[in-house]
Structure formats: structure tokens, C-alpha cells
Amino acid sequence: MDDIRFAERDLCVTEAKIAARDVQVHYGTNHALKDVNVDILEQTVTAFIGPSGCGKSTFLRCLNRMNDTIPGCRIEGRLTLDGQDIYDPRVDPVQLRAKVGMVFQKPNPFPKSIYDNVAYGPRIHGLTRNKAELDEIVEKSLRRAALWEEAKDRLASPGTGLSGGQQQRLCIARAIATSPEVLLMDEPCSALDPIATAQIEELIDELRAQFSVVIVTHSMQQAARVSQRTAFFHLGRLVEYGETGQIFTNPHDPRTESYISGRIG
């Protein structure tokens, strides 16, 4: 882990954007998340790290209630966005998801054109007044997701005909096109080459100026590069959560230390 490079810290944020208290998630009889307590801060990039299957995606999906759609999935505990309970029956999950965007672990473009994939969000949220504005948003999102050069000549061809990495970037472009307040990204760079990865990391850094970003990653280097805060999950528990620098250089929990140094997985 020689080349871990720490992002500059500016954790001058006052309060939590999202707060999780004692969150428990069950899939049927499988207790996937246990007692998770975490504060996601505003204008911060938070990295979730942890071995495969430890519950990172599960927790991410709790944050915008995407777990609602999984039959047999039960969530307990309290999750708040700007102090409002996310699971309050009065909350409109649609509005929640408009605020809390998501990039899924497996790229899932719509079987529509590349353009329509990106334009979908702005369309349903009424973000544009005319076609020109929409074109602009689409282009900007694709540019920011580093896909514009490859996609600009084939905007009308189906998004499902893209390569794995291209699909992943398309999904990122789709998610940022609606400018959510919080962006949840589940391994957004897993299928990307280093340069594309760097571009996405740049995007994340840029987004942080206004929003908070939560990113799941398996790359310790990436977590160190882009995040200000890091949460380490292990076997369904949040083992440690803190400033990225501290987690990587001076973890409190021995399990964090073992994971970072490559001993447990």
C-alpha cells in the first residue's frame, strides 16, 4: 500500500446529511446488516470499504430505499436525511430517490438509446424547458462521465450495446443528469481503466463541492484518493468509521488494520 495518496481534508461541515442509527437489515433469515450507526456529511465523499459480501451495497440501498423493492428484505433502525426519517410512512420514496441518486453495482442501462438513458431523469423531473436544454444536460452529463467522446456519434444506438465500462459510465452519466443532492455510487470504477477511473474520481471531487457522495470501492487507493471519510464494514457490521486519513494510517480496530494491510477478507 505504498501509493496511498490522501485527498486534502476539508471536513468543515457542521451536520450530518444522512444519519443512520442502529440499522438492521434482514434478507429473510439472513441478518445482513447489524447495528450500523453512521453519519454521512454534507459536501463530503464517504467511502465504504470492506470485503465482498459484508453489506456495503445493502447499506447503500437502504439510503434511498431501493431495498423496498426486494421481497423479503426488512429494515429496522432509524435513517434520516436532513433530519427527516427516510422510512417515515409520509416520505415519498420517489422524492427521496430524486434527491439521493444511485449508480448500481451492475451496470443496468435501459434498453433504449444512449440519449434516452441520460435524458430520462431530466425528463421525468422536468428539469428542462426545451430540447436544447435537454441536449445540453445530456452532453454535459456524458462529458462529466467521460463517455462523450465515445458516445457522441452513436447517441441513438442502444445503451445495452455498449462495452461493460461504457455501460458503467453511462449509468454514472444517467445518475448525475438529475443533479441529486446525495450520490450513491456502488463500485463506479470497477470496470474502468485507470484513465477513465481518474476522470470519474475527478468528477466525484467536483460533485463534492455541492453535494455529498457515497462511494463503495474495493480499491483502498481509490478510497484514500477521493474520500474524506471512510467506513469499514465487516460481516454486516460497521467496524470503524472516521476520517479517511485516520482509518488508513491509524485504524482503531484491529480488523480494520488487518483488512487494510490485506490480511482479512
Binding site: 420517489v94 428539469l127 424547458r129
Partner: protein
Amino acid sequence: MSIGILVLAVLILAAAGFVLGRQRALATAGGDPRRLHSLPGHYGQFTAILAAVPALVLLAIWLLAQPLAIESRIAPMLTADSPADRSLAMADVRRISIGLDLLAVSDRLSEDAVASLSSETLAPRLRQVGTAVTQVTPEALSAAKAHRTMRHTLQIWMTAAVGLTAATCFVFALLRIRPDFRARNVSERFVMWLLIAASLVAVATTAGIVLSLVSETLHFFRIYPAREFFLSLTWNPQFRGGSDLGIWPLLWGTVYISIIALIVAVPIGLLTAVYLSEYASRRTRGWAKPAIEILAGIPTIVYGLFALITVGPALRDWFAQPLGLGASSSSVMTAGLVMGIMLIPFVSSLSDDIINAVPQSLRDGSYGLGATQSETVKLVILPAALPGIVGAVLLAASRAIGETMIVVLGAGAAAKLSLNPFEAMTTVTVKIVSQLTGDTEFASPETLVAFALGLTLFVMTLVLNVLALYIVRKYREQYE
């Protein structure tokens, strides 16, 4: 027609509401749709819904309630001994009252003239304007006049009430529109209610079927012992009573014929679906699938005649007689085979769609492991498509149970309990039709048994469907 005009007016108001709601939403947001909670169109929908729905609901309730209200007021004016008499008399009053309307129009009578009509000469005049009355008693006439006035007053009230409701709601909706108003949620909730209502149609249909069968079935069991019906092994209706109406031979025939039909249709249909979706070229599929669907549209009488004239004698000469299984040209086998052909598209077309919907990545996964196409189909695709395929098979089975013409012509009309597939038998459905359309008097067990048969079949298929649901639940594989 005035009701039609009223409805039309409300709908026009709703259309205007759509446009205005949209405009107003944009106006409140200073022309910037981004400041709105929902899309401008949602505000339009909201206004339109509010303008139309309460008014139309009110109209519907009014139209249902008005006759009840009027008749409860009229009822004391009539002298009747029994409720049946009263309802007959009321029907008379209703007819006369409508007839008076017609008369007023055709003879250009003033209201006073109508009020002063006397009962003596009225009947022929009413008949002339197309009202079915034999005679008009003074009592009925005065009741009818009261009926008519009340109708007219209430009609005016109704128009006013509906119009007022529409207008009020319309204005209310427009006033509600603010940038942070959740118009999408409201219009989606409305759509949701529509969806729920649509699914309740199915429930209502069931209720309707059960209700329309139940009273006659009870009537049947009052004049024919239920024990005989459910336990007797002979079906032998007679004209002069003393019929044996045991359901078993019919049930057995239904099951036997349906099973043979499914044995023909399911393998052929499934293999066809698999071939068309997995092997055939797009072009072949493009014409073969619609072509096979024609099989579902050929009138069953054609199949029936095919069974009667071609298949039946062929089966008899080539199988039944050489095998010593009888010399009947109509047989369970004949009907089953021919019905199976008809059912092929029920299985094939729907299965084909479902197989087509299985994601390509699953096929890739299997091919990548060195599976042949048929292994992929059998081990990956069909299990993943199982719920849909079961649905298709159930649909085919349902059709098999409900079929009449093929059975009548292919299997005959004899109700028999036999294992020999080359013997003539018949099904419950065939007997429902023939008992209902027969020459026997309606209130006899021979006719009423049709209702009992229908209800029994209904219950039995219900049980089968519960079973099917359970099986699908158990074996379904959800991809992704």
C-alpha cells in the same frame, strides 16, 4: 340524451382544466418547470381529474339513487298485496311514466294537458308511442304522473348539482396549484385507484358468476337430491322426470378429454415455442408465430367437423377396431387430439414471449460453460420461464375445459365412465349447454342441473388453480 350532454360538458371542462392547470402551474413557477414539484402536465392532469371525477361520481350515484328514492315515495300510492305484485305494479308505473314523456313529445302536449290525461283512453295512445302496457288503471296513472313530475324535478336538480360540483372542484384545483403542490402524487394515486378498480372487475365478474349460478343451483338441489348429484355414477336425463343426474361421468369425460388435449398441446406447443424463439431465424419466427396463432382463431365448429369427418373415422379404422377397442367413431381420443391442435397456440405463443424475455446473459452463461443449445433450453431457460409457461398451460387447460363444439362433434354426447379412450364420452360444459338450450321445461331438474354443473365446475377448477399457484410458487426461479 341530456345525461350524455351533461357528461360531455363535464369532460370538456376537464379538458379545459388540463390546459389551464398546466398553464397555471408554469405561471406560478415563473415559467420555470424546475421550480415545480411535478411536471407541468401533472398539474394539468390534477385539474382535469378533479374537475371530472367527483362530478361524474356524483352523477353515477345520483342515477342509481334517483329511481330508488322516487319509488319509495310512490310505493304508498299503490295498493298491492305482495312484494311481487308491488314490483310488477311499479314496473307498470315506470313504463307509463316514460310513456307519458313520449306522448308529451309526440303529441306536443303541454304539462297541463299531461296532468289532465285520464286513464280510459290512454292505453292505446301509449301503445302507439311504443310503450308496452295492456291497460292503465287510474291508480297507476296518478302514480305515474307523480313519478314523472318527481323525475323531472330531480333531473333539474341533478344537472345543477353535477355542474356545480364540477365547477367548484375545478376552481378548487386551480387554486391548489402552487409550485410545491404534489400534483404527480395525486394523479398517480388516482391512476392507482383506476388500476385497483380494473382488477376488481375480475372480482366482480366472479361474484356475478357465482350469484347468477347460486340461486338456480339451490333451486336445483331443492328438487333433486344433492347426494345423487355428487355420488351417482350415471347421467341419464329423462323427459318425464326420474332422471339420473350424477356428475361423475361428465367430470370424468372432462378430465379425460382435457388431459389428452394437453398431452397433445403442451409438448407440441412448448417445443414450437422453444424452436421459434431459440432456433428459428427472425424471419421464420416472424411468419410462423402469427400463422400458428390462426389455429386459435379457427372457429371450433371447423375443428368439430374435422374431428367428426376425418379424425374420428381414421382413428376408428386404424386404431380402435384393430385393437379391439370398439367401433365408435366419436371418441375421447378424437376430441382430445383435435382439441390439442386448437390449443397449440395457447401454449406456444405465450411461452415464446416469456422465453424471449429471459435475459441473454443467462444463455451466454450456459453456452460459455459448453452447454448445447438444447441443454441451455432445458436446464436454464425453461426453468427461468416456468411461471409464464405454467400460466400458458393453465390457459390452455382452461380452454380445454370450456370447449363445447369439438367435444359434441368429436366425442359425442354420451355420458360414460370408461377408461377406453376410443369410446364416446362427454364433458360438463357440453351438458351445461345442451341442458340449457334443450326442450325441457325451465323449472325442471333436467334444465336446472346446468347451473349446478357450472357451479361445481367452477369450484373444481378453483381448487386446481390453487394447486397450480402453489406449484409455481414452489419452483419459480427469479432471474437477476
